[in-house]
C-alpha cells in the first residue's frame, strides 16, 4: 500500500472548478500525506475555500478526481466522506446544547444516544470544556465556541479534519493561543488536517507544509522554512514576510552557491540555477543594517523618507541607489531622523535569489 492510499491521505487529481463562466480553480494537483497538517495560504479570493469545500463535498469539482485514503470520493455527498469540518462561523446549532452539538454527528453515524453522549463527553474533555456540556452555544465565549466546533469535528475521528479560517472570529491575543492548541492536538492525535488561512504568520506557525495559492493555482508548496528562505517567485517573497525586490548581478556560480554583487557589496547566497548575469533578489526588511554615512561602506547609500517608532524596533522607508526599500532596524534605539543620510549593508541570511 503506497502512502497515497493510507488512511488520511488526500489527493487532488487534475481538479478544475468553474462557477458558471468563471473559473475559480483551473487545474489543481496536490497530495497530503497522512498525519500531515497542510495549510492553504493566499490572498482573499484565490480559491482556498473552494478547494476545501470540494474536499468536504460541499462543492462538486467540474472535472478531476479527489481521493481520500485511496478511495475516489469525487461524487460522494458530504455525509458519506470520512472528513469533518470546522467552519469559519463555527456553525454550532443554536437550538442544541453543547453536548448535543458534539454528539450530533455520532448519532447520525448510527451510534446510540447514550454511547454518543459518552463519546461527546470525551470530546469535550479533549478541548477542556467538560463542564460546559449543558450550556447553549450562545452562552459560551468566542474561544469556547471555537473549541466546541473543533471537538464536534474531532469526535467523529475523521480521516481528515478541515478547518476554514478557524481563528478569524477571535481577537488577536486569543488567536495565538488557540492556534497552538490546535497544533498540539493535531500532533498528539496524529490526524491529517487541511487548514485554510490568509494570515501568513498563522500558516508558518502551525503547518508541516504550506501551499501558497494565487488565482486558483498553486504558486509554491513547501515547509515554512523553504518558503521563507527560498521563495520561488516575487509573489511568494512578498507574501511570506515582507520583502524588497531589487536588481543584482550574479558573478559566479558553483556548488549551489552564487556570488552576487548588490550595490557595492559582494555576498554569497544559495541558488538553484547556474546562470550568471543580472538577476532579481529578495531582500528581507530585517536583512538591511543601517549606519551613519561616516562609516564609508561598500553596500548602498540612502536617505530616510519616513520612520515609524514601534517600541522594540523602528520601521523605515528608505530612498536608496537600489530603489525604494523597506527596512526594520532592531539595533538602534534612537531612530534616524527623516531626511538623514544612511549607509546600508546587507546580511546574507535574509537574501534569496529569485528564479
Amino acid at each position: 500500500m503506497s502512502a497515497r492510499e493510507k488512511r488520511g491521505a488526500v489527493v487532488f487529481d487534475d481538479i478544475r472548478k468553474d462557477y458558471g463562466s468563471f473559473t475559480a480553480i483551473p487545474q489543481l494537483n496536490l497530495s497530503v500525506e497522512p498525519g500531515e497538517l497542510v495549510t492553504l495560504l493566499g490572498p482573499s479570493g484565490c480559491g482556498k475555500t473552494t478547494t476545501l469545500r470540494m474536499l468536504a463535498g460541499l462543492e462538486t469539482p467540474t472535472s478531476g478526481r479527489i481521493l481520500i485514503g485511496g478511495t475516489d470520493v469525487s461524487r460522494l455527498p458530504p455525509n458519506r466522506r470520512d472528513v469533518a469540518m470546522v467552519f469559519q462561523s463555527y456553525a454550532l446549532f443554536p437550538h442544541m446544547s453543547v453536548a448535543a452539538n458534539v454528539a450530533y454527528g455520532l448519532e447520525a453515524g448510527g451510534l446510540g444516544r447514550r454511547a454518543a453522549r459518552a463519546q461527546a463527553e470525551k470530546g469535550l474533555d479533549l478541548v477542556g470544556l467538560s463542564a460546559m456540556g449543558d450550556r447553549l452555544p450562545a452562552e459560551l465565549s468566542g474561544g469556547q465556541q471555537q473549541r466546541v466546533a473543533v471537538a464536534r469535528a474531532l469526535v467523529l475521528e475523521p480521516q481528515v479534519l478541515l478547518l476554514d479560517e478557524p481563528l478569524s472570529n477571535l481577537d488577536a491575543r486569543l488567536r495565538r493561543k488557540v492556534r497552538t492548541e490546535i497544533r498540539e492536538l493535531q500532533q498528539r492525535l496524529g490526524f491529517t488536517a487541511v487548514y485554510v488561512t490568509h494570515d501568513q504568520d498563522e500558516a508558518l506557525a502551525v503547518s508541516d507544509r504550506v501551499v501558497v495559492m494565487r488565482e486558483g493555482r498553486i504558486e509554491q508548496a513547501g515547509t515554512p522554512r523553504e518558503l521563507y528562505e527560498a521563495p520561488a517567485s516575487e509573489f511568494i517573497a512578498d507574501f511570506i514576510g515582507e520583502s524588497n525586490i531589487v536588481d543584482c548581478t550574479v558573478e559566479k556560480v558553483g556548488d549551489g552557491l552564487a556570488e552576487i554583487r548588490l550595490g557595492g557589496q559582494r555576498i554569497t547566497v544559495p541558488t538553484r540555477s547556474t546562470a550568471t548575469g543580472p538577476a532579481r533578489l529578495s531582500v528581507r526588511a530585517n536583512a538591511i543594517s543601517l549606519s551613519g554615512p561616516a562609516a564609508g561602506q561598500d553596500g548602498a547609500s540612502g536617505r530616510v523618507r519616513s520612520a515609524a517608532y514601534l517600541g522594540d524596533h523602528v520601521e523605515y522607508e528608505i530612498e536608496s541607489d537600489l530603489g525604494q526599500l523597506f527596512a526594520i532596524d532592531h539595533a538602534n534605539a534612537t531612530p534616524y531622523a527623516v531626511g538623514s543620510d544612511l549607509a546600508l549593508t546587507f546580511r546574507a541570511a535574509g537574501l534569496a535569489l529569485l528564479p
Binding site: 460541499l58 469540518m85 467552519f87 469559519q88 446549532f93 437550538h95 447520525a108
Partner: protein
C-alpha cells in the same frame, strides 16, 4: 425667544377663535358645507361658546376662564414656573372638556342626580369651536413642557407626542371603552347587567356539543376555524417559501405576482369565486352530482368553505413571512450538518426545521389573527353557521338588534386576537435563531430531500394553478349572463355597474360608491402615511418616558379585528361628545387608525436604515428637529412614504370588516356595496365590480413600482446601494 412666544400666541388665537367666533357645537348638515353662515345669528345652536353661556350652558364657563388665565400668563416672562402653569392649565382644560362632554348629553346631565347640584340644559356634540379649544389646551400643555425644558425643550417633538397620544386615545382607546360600556347598557342607555349575564354564558356561544355530535358554540367554532386556517396557511406558506428558495423552479416571478394578489383583492372575492365553482350552480358541484348522483347542495357553505377561502387568501401573507425565515437559516448550519454524517432528510428535520420553528410559530399566529378578523369570507360563505365576526355584524344590523350582545361577542373576539398578539410579542420575541452572528462562511442552502422536494413542487404547483384558476373565474364570470345557467357572454354586468351616456351621465349603479371610495381613499392615504411615519420617527429617533408603552399601544391596535373597530366606532361616535356616524370623517378616521400601524412598521424599517448621525449632523448645524425631519429624513424616506401612501390607499379600497358598520346612504363604500349586491343574489354585477376594483389597484401598484423604480435608477450614483428597496416596504407591511 420669539419662536416660543409666537407659538403660544398662535395657540391662544386658535382657542380664541374657537371660543368667541366659531360655532361651538356640532352642526347636523356639516361644518364644511358652510350653509350655517347664513343662519349664524338667528339660530342659537350655531353660536360660539361665549354666547352659549347665555343659554344656561354654564359648563363652558371654566373653559373661558382658563383661556383668560392663559392670556394673562402669556404676558409674563417665559420661565420654568410659567411653563409649569401652562402644563397644569392645559391638562385642566383637556380634563374639563372631556368631563363636561361625557357627563352632559343631549338631554342634560348623564350622571343621575347631578341636576340637583346645578340644572343644565342638554348639549349637542362638540363642533369646530370645541375642537379648536381642545387643540389649544393640548398645545399649551406641550409648549408648557417645552418651556420647563422637558426633552431639551423641543416643542415640536412634545407637540407631536401629545397630539398622537390624544388621537390614539380618542380613536382607539375611547371607542373600545365605549363598546365595553355598551355591553352594560340597555336600549335607553341605563346601566344593567342583564345583557352581560344573558350573553356571557349563552350556550349559542360556548356550548361544546360538537364533541358529542351536535353543534358547537360560535366562540369554539371561530377558534377551531382560526386554528385550522392558521395551520393550513402556514403549511402552504412554507411550501411556497421552500419552493421559491430551495428548488430550481422557473416560476419564481410568478410567485412574486402571487404575493401581490392579497393586497389588491377585496377579502370576500375568493369566497365569491369558490361559490361560482362549488356553490349550488357551480360546475364542480354539478359535475360531481351528475356523475355520482349525490346531492351536494350547499356543501361549500359553512366552516369547510370558509376554511378553504381563508387558506387561499392568507397563504400569500404567510409566504411573505416565511420566505425571510427560510432564507434566514444560515447555510453553514446545514452544511455543518452534512459534514457531520447527516443526509438531507436528517439535516432538514434536525437542523433546518427547528431553526425555522420560531418563524413558523409567528406565521401561525399571524394566520390565526387574520382568520379571526376575517369578515368578508364568512359573510359570503357562512350560510347559517357564522363565526364571531359575522355574528357581531348580525347582532347589530339584523332583526335582533342587540348592541349588548354585539359588544360581548366583540370582547370575546378581542380576547382571542389579543392573546395571539401578546403571545407573538412576548413569547416569540428573542426566540429567533436566524440571526446568529459571526463572520459568515457564505455557502449555499442544502437541497431538500428528494421526496420532500417533489411534494413541495407538486403542492405549490397545484395550489398556484388553483389560485390562478379562481382569479380567472372571477374575470370570466363577470362576462357571463347567469352563472351556471346561461353561459352566453355579455357586457351587461359592466353596463349595469359602470354604464354612462352623454345624455344621462354616469348611469351605472356602481359609480356612486366608486367615487366615494376613491375620494375617501385619497383623503385617508396621506393622513395615514403622515401619522404613521411621524410615529415611526418618534419611536426610532426620539427618547421619551413611556415610549415602550406608546409603541406597544400602537402595535396593539393592529391586533384589533376590523369588526371590533367597526362596532366600537358605532358605539362611541353615535352620540356626543364626538358625533360622527354617517359622515365621511368617521370612515377616514377609521382608515387612518386602522392602517397606521402598517405605516409605522414600514417607517421604522426604513428609518432604521438611515444612520442616526445624519440627524445629529443636521442638529449640530443648527437645524431644529422639525427642520431635520423635513429636510433630511423625509427626502431619504421617499420610497417608504410612497409605499405607505399606496398601501393605505389600497387598504381603504379593499377593506370591508370595519367599513360595513360605518357606511351610510350618503357615503357608501365599494366593498359594502358589493356585499349588498351579493346578498341580493346579483353575483354578475358584484364580480364585475370586484374585477374593476382589482384592475384599478393593479394599475395603481404597477404605476407606483414604475415610479419608484425609475427614481431609484436616477439616484444610484449619488446614494449607492444603501437606498432602501422600493418594492419591499409594501410586501413587508403585508407580511408583518
Amino acid at each position: 425667544m420669539t419662536g416660543e412666544t409666537r407659538r403660544i400666541d398662535v395657540a391662544l388665537a386658535a382657542g380664541g377663535a374657537g371660543l368667541l367666533v366659531l360655532p361651538w357645537y356640532h352642526i347636523r348638515s356639516g361644518f364644511w358645507e358652510f350653509d350655517w353662515l347664513g343662519a349664524f345669528l338667528s339660530d342659537d345652536r350655531l353660536w360660539p361658546a361665549v354666547a352659549q353661556l347665555g343659554q344656561g350652558r354654564w359648563q363652558l364657563l371654566p373653559v373661558l376662564a382658563l383661556w383668560l388665565v392663559a392670556l394673562a400668563l402669556r404676558l409674563r416672562q417665559p420661565s420654568a414656573a410659567r411653563g409649569k402653569a401652562f402644563v397644569v392649565l392645559g391638562l385642566a382644560g383637556l380634563a374639563w372638556l372631556a368631563f363636561e362632554g361625557m357627563a352632559i348629553g343631549l338631554r342634560g346631565w348623564a350622571i343621575p342626580g347631578a341636576d340637583r347640584l346645578i340644572a343644565l340644559a342638554g348639549q349637542p356634540a362638540w363642533g369646530a369651536g370645541a375642537i379648536l379649544a381642545l387643540a389649544m389646551f393640548a398645545a399649551l400643555f406641550a409648549f408648557g413642557l417645552a418651556e420647563r425644558g422637558v426633552l431639551k425643550g423641543d416643542a415640536f417633538v412634545l407637540g407631536a407626542i401629545t397630539a398622537l397620544v390624544l388621537l390614539v386615545i380618542a380613536f382607539v382607546g375611547y371607542p373600545l371603552y365605549a363598546m365595553f360600556l355598551s355591553a352594560f347598557q340597555d336600549f335607553r342607555g341605563n346601566f344593567t347587567l342583564d345583557g352581560v349575564s344573558q350573553n356571557i354564558a349563552d350556550p349559542a356561544i360556548w356550548r361544546l356539543d360538537c364533541l358529542v355530535g351536535g353543534r358547537c358554540g360560535v366562540a369554539w367554532r371561530t377558534l377551531f376555524l382560526a386554528l385550522c386556517t392558521a395551520s393550513g396557511s402556514t403549511l402552504m406558506g412554507l411550501v411556497f417559501a421552500l419552493a421559491a428558495t430551495r428548488t430550481n423552479t422557473r416560476f419564481k416571478a410568478g410567485l412574486r405576482l402571487l404575493t401581490v394578489l392579497p393586497i389588491i383583492t377585496p377579502p370576500f372575492v375568493i369566497g365569491l369565486a369558490l361559490i361560482m365553482i362549488m356553490g349550488r350552480a357551480g360546475f364542480v358541484t354539478q359535475g360531481i352530482e351528475a356523475i355520482t348522483g349525490w346531492h351536494l347542495g350547499r356543501w361549500i357553505y359553512g366552516l369547510p368553505g370558509i376554511w378553504l377561502a381563508q387558506v387561499l387568501s392568507f397563504t400569500p401573507i404567510s409566504f411573505l413571512v416565511l420566505i425571510g425565515v427560510v432564507q434566514g437559516v444560515s447555510p453553514s448550519m446545514e452544511e455543518a450538518s452534512q459534514t457531520l454524517r447527516s443526509d438531507r432528510w436528517r439535516t432538514f428535520t434536525k437542523v433546518s426545521l427547528p431553526l425555522m420553528a420560531p418563524g413558523l410559530a409567528n406565521a401561525f399566529l399571524i394566520g390565526f389573527i387574520e382568520s379571526m378578523a376575517d369578515f368578508g369570507n364568512p359573510l359570503i360563505l357562512g350560510g347559517n353557521g357564522g363565526v364571531l365576526s359575522t355574528d357581531i355584524f348580525f347582532a347589530v344590523v339584523g332583526a335582533q338588534h342587540n348592541p349588548a350582545r354585539a359588544a360581548i361577542l366583540a370582547l370575546i373576539l378581542l380576547c382571542f386576537t389579543l392573546s395571539a398578539f401578546l403571545a407573538q410579542r412576548f413569547w416569540l420575541s428573542g426566540r429567533n435563531f436566524s440571526t446568529v452572528s459571526g463572520k459568515g462562511d457564505g455557502g449555499s442552502h442544502a437541497r431538500l430531500p428528494r421526496g420532500l422536494e417533489i411534494a413541495v413542487l407538486t403542492l405549490a404547483g397545484v395550489w398556484s394553478a388553483f389560485t390562478l384558476f379562481l382569479y380567472g373565474m372571477i374575470f370570466f364570470g363577470s362576462f357571463v349572463k347567469v352563472w351556471g345557467l346561461d353561459n352566453t357572454l355579455t357586457l351587461a354586468h359592466y353596463h349595469a355597474a359602470f354604464g354612462f351616456s352623454l345624455a344621462g351621465g354616469f348611469t351605472g349603479v356602481a359609480w356612486n360608491s366608486f367615487w366615494t371610495t376613491m375620494g375617501i381613499a385619497i383623503l385617508a392615504a396621506p393622513l395615514t402615511a403622515f401619522v404613521g411615519l411621524l410615529t415611526a420617527w418618534l419611536i426610532v429617533r426620539q427618547r421619551f418616558p413611556g415610549k415602550a408603552l406608546f409603541e406597544f399601544a400602537i402595535m396593539l391596535s393592529f391586533a384589533i379585528p376590523g369588526t371590533v373597530i367597526g362596532i366600537s366606532y358605532v358605539s362611541a361616535f353615535n352620540l356626543p361628545p364626538l358625533q360622527m356616524t354617517g359622515t365621511a370623517m368617521i370612515l377616514i378616521m377609521c382608515f387612518v387608525f386602522r392602517n397606521m400601524p402598517v405605516g409605522v412598521r414600514g417607517g421604522i424599517a426604513a428609518m432604521s436604515q438611515i444612520d442616526g448621525s445624519l440627524d445629529e449632523a443636521s442638529l449640530m448645524l443648527g437645524g431644529s428637529s422639525a427642520r431635520t425631519l423635513r429636510k433630511v429624513i423625509l427626502p431619504l424616506l421617499r420610497p417608504a412614504i410612497l409605499a405607505a401612501l399606496v398601501y393605505s390607499f389600497v387598504r381603504a379600497i379593499t377593506s370591508i370588516s370595519a367599513v360595513i358598520f360605518l357606511v351610510s346612504a350618503q357615503y357608501n363604500m365599494a366593498t359594502a356595496y358589493i356585499v349588498g349586491l351579493v346578498e341580493n343574489g346579483e353575483y354578475g354585477v358584484a364580480i364585475a365590480y370586484s374585477s374593476v376594483l382589482i384592475v384599478v389597484m393593479m394599475v395603481v401598484i404597477g404605476g407606483f413600482q414604475l415610479l419608484v423604480g425609475e427614481r431609484r435608477i436616477g439616484r444610484r450614483d449619488a446614494r449607492g446601494p444603501a437606498t432602501p428597496r422600493p418594492v419591499a416596504p409594501i410586501k413587508e407591511e403585508i407580511a408583518t
